[in-house]
């Protein structure tokens, strides 16, 4: 790793945005701002912002701890409390961090929550996670927003109604009580109008991978691109500016016929175009990315960047129906789609972005993604006659990242892709 990470202007902007939020969180007790812990999938951050509260995302803290090589110690501390080796390592990493003083990955102390907003989609473990958090913060109220699964391939009126009722009866009253502010629907509508603009830009950004070479990597860089909408900036003017700047930069690359920028430098020759399913490994993120860079493999679409919202199939928030819109947004997150919908979405990505292959990074402790991935692979292979590959790692437990095994499997996969290209030619 001799080269330093190359930074684009948008990356610097994003870094400043996140640093600003962390600073605000650090001063929350002094400024009197209330702090809400919540999750990325189904993050109704617009509502949190409408009450002038600040969001904290435990799983983002965990992934940041993983990237900064702090997660292993936290996980071991949680296991000493009786947490199993088998369960979600995000949970254990955060529990470990909290019992060690709640010092965040970047060194700032994360303020204790004033409200635990259990809004989760497509992940049962999140519910159990907040039961654990409730024991760590026994005096903090929990507001639950249960998101029904899209088991029948559609959102029914009953599902939306159930969620809206929960927002009205459970979530909003608790937010009013904690924040001391009344619910202001007009304010929420304005914030949602910003979200809607951002959604449009995000779609355009991820659509640029239709180009050859693709100007972006929609997985490794993609997780940075979705940072602001998943990290407290949904519905903010800053998010609009950030995504506009990002889109401008990417379009410049398209016009200049350039490939993606990576930590190793610019990808000069695009050899393979892939669609990837599942979260990345965070503890060895750069090494992991480099494996693809070395092979000339660009990810043209990934499911993980849709974990905080799927817009590809046409969903946009509607500011005129704010609560219904929040409900539908939650139900449209990637892991809240059933397997057949996931197959259809991935199939569309493979076709639209002209991918050469499909790869699964299966995460040991994330059944929300992992259970069913082998069937997804079978389906895609059968329907599209496309080569499929499979690797395994974990979110933030470095004990489950085996560089040699992953490299071996990837090399075999790329050989398969190479041979197929030769045959097709």
């Amino acid at each position: 790793m001799s080269k330093s990470v190359s930074k684009e202007k948008s990356m610097i902007i994003q870094k400043e945005m996140i640093a600003g939020l962390l600073k605000e969180l650090g001063n929350a007790k002094e400024t009197g701002k209330k702090v809400v812990y919540t999750f990325v999938p189904g993050n109704i951050s617009e509502l949190i912002l409408a009450f002038d509260m600040l969001p904290v995302y435990p799983e983002i803290n965990a992934l940041q701890s993983g990237m900064r090589k702090k997660s292993e110690g936290f996980i071991l501390d949680a296991e000493k409390l009786g947490h199993s080796e088998d369960v979600c390592t995000y949970v254990k990493c955060d529990v470990g961090m909290m019992i060690n003083g709640n010092i965040g990955p970047s060194g700032e102390k994360i303020p204790a929550p004033d409200l635990l907003l259990l809004s989760y989609t497509g992940c049962f473990t999140f519910m159990k996670w907040f039961e654990t958090l409730k024991r760590l913060y026994p005096n903090v109220p929990v507001a639950l927003l249960h998101t029904p699964y899209q088991e029948g391939h559609k959102i029914t009126p009953e599902m939306t109604q159930y969620m809206v009722k929960q927002l009205k009866e459970e979530v909003i009253p608790k937010m009013e009580k904690v924040s001391g502010n009344k619910y202001d629907e007009e304010k929420l509508k304005k914030i949602l109008a910003n979200s809607s603009k951002v959604e449009e830009t995000i779609i355009k950004i991820f659509d640029t991978t239709k180009n050859r070479p693709s100007p972006i990597d929609a997985y490794f860089a993609g997780v940075y691109y979705i940072g602001p909408i998943n990290n407290g900036f949904r519905g903010t003017p800053e998010a609009i500016d950030y995504y506009n700047e990002l889109y401008k930069e990417i379009m410049d690359r398209v016009h200049n016929g350039l490939g993606p920028i990576t930590p190793e430098g610019e990808m000069e020759k695009e050899r393979f175009r892939l669609v990837v399913e599942g979260p990345p490994n965070w503890t060895h993120f750069r090494e992991f990315w480099k494996l693809f860079y070395d092979m000339g493999a660009v990810i043209v679409a990934s499911s993980y960047t849709k974990v905080g919202g799927v817009y590809d199939m046409g969903f946009r928030v509607n500011p005129d129906k704010p609560l219904e819109s929040l409900a539908d947004y939650c139900m449209n997150c990637y892991t809240n789609l059933n397997l057949e919908q996931r197959v259809e979405l991935l199939s569309k990505c493979i076709t639209d972005y002209h991918a050469d292959g499909f790869l699964v990074n299966s995460i040991k402790s994330c059944n929300s993604f992992s259970a069913g991935q082998l069937m997804i692979m079978q389906q895609l292979e059968r329907r599209l006659e496309i080569p499929v590959g499979f690797i395994e790692s974990d979110l933030v437990d470095p004990r489950y990242f085996s560089y040699a095994n992953i490299k071996n499997r990837l090399e075999s996969f790329f050989q398969m892709l190479e041979q197929r290209k030769l045959i097709l030619e």
Partner: protein, 387 residues
């Protein structure tokens, strides 16, 4: 106790018949009958019964089925039960089933419902999204719409309208079933030498695959037989086993715990059959609303249910006291997220209250019990010697 032994033998054969022969025979007797398979934990079987159907518990392949094809569908770090269920599907054990219900237990079972959709099995596949909001006008309304959805699906098959009268009759039968099951557990608690935990398991599990009317007859006979003294107490500790609410422990594991010096007085095996505590009361609401209310207000505690305002620790400790239990065995299937995420919370409650416990993992097809026997034996001895 020849009569009791005969019943247990018959129940064992029914319970572990992976071809579901009795259920399929029952269906063949009438063209309007339907079979609806449901995965572990709770499902209100009353509604299927009222629609002239039989809700059949599908609990996996256990240690009775070699898993070959199922392994191709799940990574090594996913629990064993779903791969057993996939093996049953691919080996055509579930032919003749009209529909499948997947209660919201965890992410694995949720995605298993999607796999069944892709397999194209049954005339309907329903992921049963039990509400995690327990307000009648919020979660209750949603739950009712989920139940109605299932009734609509069955009606499409057999055109039977579920009237309040039909549903009332079904509720009465299942109330009786729950009452008799609880009575057996109560007798067991008072006279644990009269019947083993493994035998109770066989008897209760048989009820997952046969009509409730037949099961009620069996339970009634068992209760009558157990009222008569049939043995003498052994020097064993009284334990509660928790964590096995979904993937079932192999029968030999239950036997091993008892052979190692324990009476299993309370457990969460086959939890669905005991999920609703007490009768479903239909005097205040319509029968369907009464089923909804019972779920919201009379559910037992389980790792699959959101639990912050009604803490599970307190209820576990109460259960411990009511059943006069000496210690707890935390036995969960490997990779079972809900159970394993509960264990630190429950174990802390045990630590804080000086309750003795041990913990181990199993799979539905675990075949080696020596280590578990030694661990449980040591646990039992330590309580006998030092408690």
């Amino acid at each position: 106790m020849e009569a009791l032994n005969d019943i247990i033998k018959k129940c064992n054969e029914l319970a572990f018949d992976l071809n579901f022969t009795r259920a399929k025979e029952w269906k063949k007797q009438d063209n309007s009958r339907v079979l609806v398979g449901y995965m572990p934990i709770y499902f209100p079987r009353e509604i299927v019964h009222a629609a002239n159907g039989l809700a059949v518990g599908i609990l996996g392949g256990g240690d009775k089925k070699q898993i070959i094809k199922g392994d191709a569908y799940y990574q090594s770090y996913v629990c064993h039960m779903p791969r057993g269920i996939v093996e049953l599907v691919l080996d055509n054990h579930l032919e003749d089933f009209d529909g499948f219900i997947f209660p919201s237990i965890c992410d694995v079972i949720r995605n298993l419902s999607g796999m069944f959709q892709l397999f194209g099995k049954g005339k309907f596949v329903k992921y049963m999204d039990f509400p995690q909001n327990f307000l009648p006008e919020v979660g209750g309304e949603f739950y009712k719409s989920e139940l109605q959805h299932i009734l609509n699906e069955i009606k499409k098959i057999n055109n039977i309208e579920v009237t309040p009268e039909r549903l009332q009759k079904s509720i009465d039968l299942f109330n009786k079933n729950r009452k008799l099951t609880e009575e057996i557990y109560n007798i067991r608690s008072e006279f644990p030498w009269r019947i083993t935990a493994a035998d109770i398991y066989n008897i209760v599990r048989a009820g997952f695959v046969i009509p409730v009317e037949e099961h009620n007859d069996i339970l009634e006979e068992v209760v009558n037989l157990l009222k008569v003294e049939n043995g003498e107490p052994h020097d064993k500790i009284r334990v509660l086993v928790i964590g096995a609410f979904c993937e079932q422990p192999p029968l030999s594991l239950i036997k091993t715990i008892e052979l190692a010096g324990c009476y299993i007085i309370e457990d969460d095996f086959l939890l669905g059959s005991r999920w609703i505590k007490g009768d479903i009361n239909t005097t205040k609401y319509s029968p369907l609303d009464s089923i909804v209310r019972a779920y919201l207000e009379q559910s037992t505690f389980s790792s699959s249910v959101y639990d912050v305002d009604n803490p599970k620790e307190g209820r576990l400790l109460t259960q411990l006291k009511e059943r006069n239990v000496d210690g707890i065995i935390f036995a969960a299937p490997s990779f079972c997220d809900p159970a394993l995420l509960d264990h630190p919370i429950l174990q802390k409650a045990c630590d804080d209250n000086n309750v003795r416990y041990i913990s181990f993992l199993y799979s539905e097809n675990t075949g080696q019990f020596k280590v578990i026997k030694e661990q449980v034996g040591t646990f039992s001895d330590s309580i006998k010697l030092w408690a």
